[in-house]
Amino acid sequence: MAANWAERISAFSRRPSGFLSGTTAEAFLAELLRELRDDRATYSVKILLLSPLCEHPTLLCCSDSVGEETALELMSVFAQCPPKSVQFRCHLLLALTSVLICTSCVKSHSRASLDFLDVLLQIAQDTSDIHTDGSQRPLRAIACECLRELEACCPGLLSQRLELLGGLWQQETSRLHQAYAELYTLVLRNAIYQLTQETGAGAEHLKALLGGNTSAAWEADQESGLASSKDSAILSSLILGPMGTVPTLHTGPDCKELRSVLSTLLDESYLLTPLCQATLLHRLTEVVAMVPGVPPAIFRTHLLRLLGTSEVSLLHATLLLKCAFTDSLFSSEDEAFILKRLVVLSQHLLLSTPEKLFYMDCILHFPENRPISCGDGDETLPVLLTPQLASALVPTVFNDSATLLARFNMLSLVYLEEGEEGQGGQGLAYLYEHLSSLLSMVENGCGRELVVTFFRAAFLFLYYFCHVERYSNDLTKQLCQLYLNHTKLAPHFINLADQTQDRLSESSWSVGLLKALQRVITEAPLTQLTSHDLSRHLKMLARVAEEGEIIQQSTLTFLSSIITPSSSSLCTGGDWRLGNEILRVCRHLLVHPSLDSLLTPLADVLQLLVCHYADMEIQDHARLYYTLLTTLSREKLAGVLAQGMEEGGRQDKKQSLSCLIGEGLTSTLTIQQTERAVFRLIEAPPEPRAGDINSNEVQKGPEEASASMEAYRDQFSDSSFASEITLQYQLVHINSHDSHFDQLFSIRLHFSLTDHHYEELGDISVPCLLRERPSAIVQLTLKPRKPYPTSLHASAIFTSPDGHTWHTTLPDIHVAFQQTFLPLPVPSNWGRGGTLSVFEGLWDEICSESGDSAMSLFCCQLKEAALNTLVEKHFLPFLISDASHKEEFKVLFFLPPRSHILLKVSSEEDAVHFNIATDNWELLSHINSYLLKITSL
């Protein structure tokens, strides 16, 4: 079982949605809790069982009340767990924290959350083990961490306990003092934040807060403050840079108490791990920013140690300190020093690449004492970053891609600022030289990563320096050479042309590049041209043909020379793909502004294709173009092709086949995806059952009980017998009013399974769905392998009145457990006697067998009338005993393919007993939740 749990828990955490579609959240949760209470399970398994509650509490506890109940259960497990199972108790605390926070129980101060808070505070104060072995120390550490998380998620929760927490922090001498310090600082920060929100709060209130003797009046305020602080402002960092504002508490210069607390915290911060030091420093930065009465100089004695550190988080916290206090704590020399330090760290040999990149990011968002721009998140160079300083960060061919590009970007910014004269010019020359060396590496056939890096570097260079013609022209030349030697880079070239055109709208570099590429392609000798090269050339030429400014004569000459039968074997080969690529170029030429001058050569090319291309479809297509070209006026031609161009042009990233062929007809030939679901399947109301067993009293089954069982069993020799369930659904519009989809035709529904419990389903056709008509009924026939609840994914293809074909996804269909129930499948002429004897026969078998069979008892409180209604409403079709026989109802659910659940329902003194017998124990959890549901309604 233990191994099984490991597997199931890992399946759950890999894909919770998939896992829960095979069972229900309630059932799984119930299983987890049951196993947690089971004494036979080992603690290592139990720890595993807690992980779904820690990671996905809201998936398992669908409502706050379930969360509350679950928490109470876990607390009782905690109370019963022996103190020596420290690890398990730690995990229990974590799970409780997760459940209570995520289900909002803490926010609403539920009973469980208040109890839990007490438990945590008790553990945090319990230092009884200090003179023994310290074995409970990990539990105390976790309790503090849970308290900190509770306070972080519900700020102000512990404000009233500030003095207590301060005392704990000061007394603790073991390593645990760190946990108390972190907790105390956070509570202090939140409490002061809340004070800033109170009107009229001042020095007195602050003093009271720290002393713990909060006045009653303020306590009342506090409560209201808690309730009203719904907004997330208190959760977020208060250090936001030059544009951020910090709420302040006006105390006057007298805040001795706070100052002394802060000094002690700062002095002891050295004893914390660097990560906790950084957090503490940040929290204290926020506190001092909120209380102007405390001067930022309080941090000064710690600055040198922090600025010299090799720890990234400590230096980062120091930068945030600078961001908060600028020149009230840092002189301009300090500023120059910090910037130099960042440059050094950005290229320091002993640091990891991610750290170095992070420091470079810090340079581009440097918190200057006197910023010029408002720091709206864009990258800006700090004024003090001179070219001389930045030269330490020039990119080199030995850098990894990310570093290379980050450096290339930063240096480009630096040299752009300097202009082309002097240092800027030299720097620019260096960058270009660097780009050239990357290019020559690409030329030498480097790996894919370097190719991508080169094109990104080229884009960056052009983005900043496109206007410097001596470089941009030379780059064009080098790129053309590169293309001829490496035509497989065509998609990269097209991408570069596209992006430079989009981003540098005022520059004509992109057109220049395409023009140059057209020249090299059309002028290169055809003799060595492979079909791969040709295919890439045609792609390039199609892109070139999109540019109205580029003269297309040479393209046409090229096309005609590659398809002239005398000079090339392309036509006789009749390659379908190449044919399409040629047609694609032609299509762009058909809408080219200079079409008038292209008319004759283009017509010739199309004619050649019509007559000589050895592929029928290409011929047909060429004929269509030829006809369009020769019969339509330019305006009409443009009109016909315009729509296709918009969708099939370069904006369209997915070059579907139909785009290549369909041209103006694209939209009618392709299947389009709807943005949201258009219709869905809902369960149809049950039809009144015609004749049930009761009306057939006169007929009878086999005489003896054993004979009935045998006859009943015999039926299953046909494997298709009673193996299917049929569910009725209505296909209805989803109520978003999109008149476009009011009338839908030829709907074909496709279903796919989410688990292995059912056989695959066939497609279902529905002729039409009209909004004004009654909805269509769809019968879904499911063939279970195992009769468990499931979900089905559904999608559909349909036609809208304008002739377009659409693909849409429907909301998932959930098949509930009770939908898999069938009445006992006995021949229709059997009377009650026969079915009753099958019931008794099965019951006896289940009682005597072990194997897969199982018995169970479900009890609940129900009045007699309520029970009758329940039977009437839910059990009638499955009732075996006489409905008037109210002492004991016998109910039998048959679940295809072979499972039975038998119920004997009787009212006892204290409760209604549902005696359950089944030949498939795995169904017990499902029937249990089903009964729970119907009896609690």
């Binding site: 004893l271 957090t279 600025l307 998140g377």
Partner: protein, 488 residues
């Protein structure tokens, strides 16, 4: 200052990448939801996350030449913080996903954005980013060891320990510490002095302080008037202190010879208690100021139990320890090779080892190798694409060695290729180690190590010089530009 989730991904044997461990912190996710409001993007399920991450790292569809999503030139991977473009009903951009990778491992985490999400805040405003990086780096060291060569042998067993490690260092998404090498020993402090949280226990027994100073020299030599040769030196001081007490004081002092150039870019371990401002002033990106402070450099600290890097520095030295020249000439079917190496007179002529490697790329395997060396011995590698010149422990009295001769590339199969080293672009790479010396002259005097404790400690100091990335480029070919410092 928290992370929403953590993922550990590794290459399996077939090269497939899979998620070996993941952890979501539900309470942090709860905060993320209320902080981000309408722009909240949920963390997708494992398989989706993996696929999006690999696309972003350029590792997806490795068989395809060009994939628009992966290879767009507009996109600059702003590593270390990636964006994942989540599709489907919970559409949006998941940011900032931090990643670090080494050897067979990729580690990722998603820090909480605790400032207003629109417009996107700079990374520098999120403290959780640097903390996330520290956590990832710590986990990486825990899983692979800190050596240069990742130890993937025990990876499986260490992965199994990750849940219990996280219980200590990051139970609820707030990183508290990095995984420590040993398990905490039983705490023994019951005094009034607080025990540092980074100290896992107390030392009992004889006091021993071990201070090791290693300097590393890198060089790019071009043998070309138009291109200035480059070299740099950096040093690290590693300590292992076994000293009694909760918070014992130790001071280590670095000293320079009388006219030594100042130590620059000093970075210190967080256990250093205080620093003098003069120690931090010298920087390698500054103009050299003759009046700069040049020691002694005092580092007072209270040591952790395990070995740690007390500080690191860089230094500007006037000459490289070994000056080389490398010339290749293409002659019909063979290559004429000439190498000269000169050991500078200030360097102690006593190596632990000294080897020169001459790799040849983009050529066939070597056939006839007709070479003469004035000292040491010459080996041809098994793959026949590399010459190894073993110089041994000493240069000859003249402090100069040469290698002359011809190589014929007539082997039956082509050797390895390299995009950089084509035609005459080639290098000699030196590997050497000199015990008991530093280039900067920096040293730790045994008597300058002060330990304030009752028992007299045993103090051991050592120093050594080693090479790393020490290249001598062929002066007749085009050498790649390695650094821009020469241009200004």
């Amino acid at each position: 200052m928290t992370v929403r989730g953590l993922w550990i991904i590794s290459h399996e044997n077939g090269g497939n990448l899979s998620i070996r461990f993941s952890r979501r912190f539900s309470t942090v996710e709860h905060r993320a939801k209320s902080l981000a409001g309408s722009s909240y993007v949920a963390v997708p399920e494992e398989s989706t996350f993996l696929q999006l991450l690999l696309t972003e790292l350029g590792l997806s569809d490795s068989g395809k030449n060009y994939v628009a999503l992966r290879d767009d030139c507009l996109y600059r991977p702003r590593s270390p913080a990636l964006e994942l473009h989540v599709d489907g009903p919970a559409k949006g951009i998941l940011w900032p996903v931090l990643t670090v990778s080494q050897g067979p491992l990729i580690l990722a985490c998603l820090p909480l954005v605790d400032v207003p999400p629109d417009p996107r805040p700079p990374l520098a405003s999120l403290l959780s980013v640097s903390q996330g990086l520290t956590l990832l780096a710590g986990l990486q060291t825990f899983l692979l060891g800190s050596g240069s060569k990742p130890d993937s042998e025990g990876l499986g067993s260490r992965l199994a320990m990750v849940p219990s490690v996280l219980l200590q260092v990051c139970p609820l998404g707030t990183p508290l510490d990095v995984p420590l090498p040993g398990t905490p020993t039983a705490p023994t402090s019951v005094g009034t002095q607080k025990q540092p949280a980074w100290k896992t226990g107390l030392h009992r027994g004889r006091a021993v302080v071990n201070v090791g100073l290693i300097e590393t020299v890198r060089s790019m030599q071009y043998g070309n008037r138009s291109r200035q040769d480059l070299w740099d030196v950096y040093g690290t001081v590693t300590c292992k202190c076994e000293v009694e007490g909760v918070l014992p004081n130790v001071t280590v002092t670095l000293s320079l010879p009388p006219n030594g150039s100042p130590l620059q870019d000093i970075l210190v371990h967080p256990c250093v208690t205080s620093l003098d401002s003069s120690i931090l002033t010298a920087s390698s990106v500054d103009n050299y100021d003759g009046s700069a402070f040049s020691g002694p450099y005092k580092f007072p600290f209270s040591p952790p139990l395990e070995p740690f890097r007390l500080c690191s520095y860089t230094s500007e030295v006037p000459v490289p320890p070994i000056l080389g020249s490398y010339q290749l000439k293409e002659e019909e079917n063979q290559l004429r090779v000439s190498v000269t190496l000169k050991l500078h007179e200030s360097i102690k002529n006593s190596f632990e080892f000294c080897n020169a490697h001459l790799p040849f790329f983009n050529r066939d395997q070597m056939g006839v190798v007709d070479m003469k060396v004035s000292s040491g011995q010459l080996d041809v590698s098994k793959e026949k694409n590399l010459l190894v010149w073993v110089l041994g422990q000493k240069f000859p009295k003249s402090r100069e060695v040469t290698m002359e001769g011809k190589i014929n590339f007539s082997g039956p199969t082509p050797g390895p290729s390299d995009p950089l080293c084509t035609k005459l672009t080639a290098y000699v790479k030196l590997h050497f180690k000199v015990p008991d010396m530093t280039l900067s002259g920096c040293y730790v005097d045994q008597h300058s190590v002060q330990v304030y404790s009752s028992a007299k400690p045993r103090i051991v100091t050592s120093r050594e010089l080693q090479s790393k990335e020490y290249y001598i480029w062929n002066s007749t070919g085009t050498a790649p530009v390695s650094s821009g410092q020469m241009m200004m």
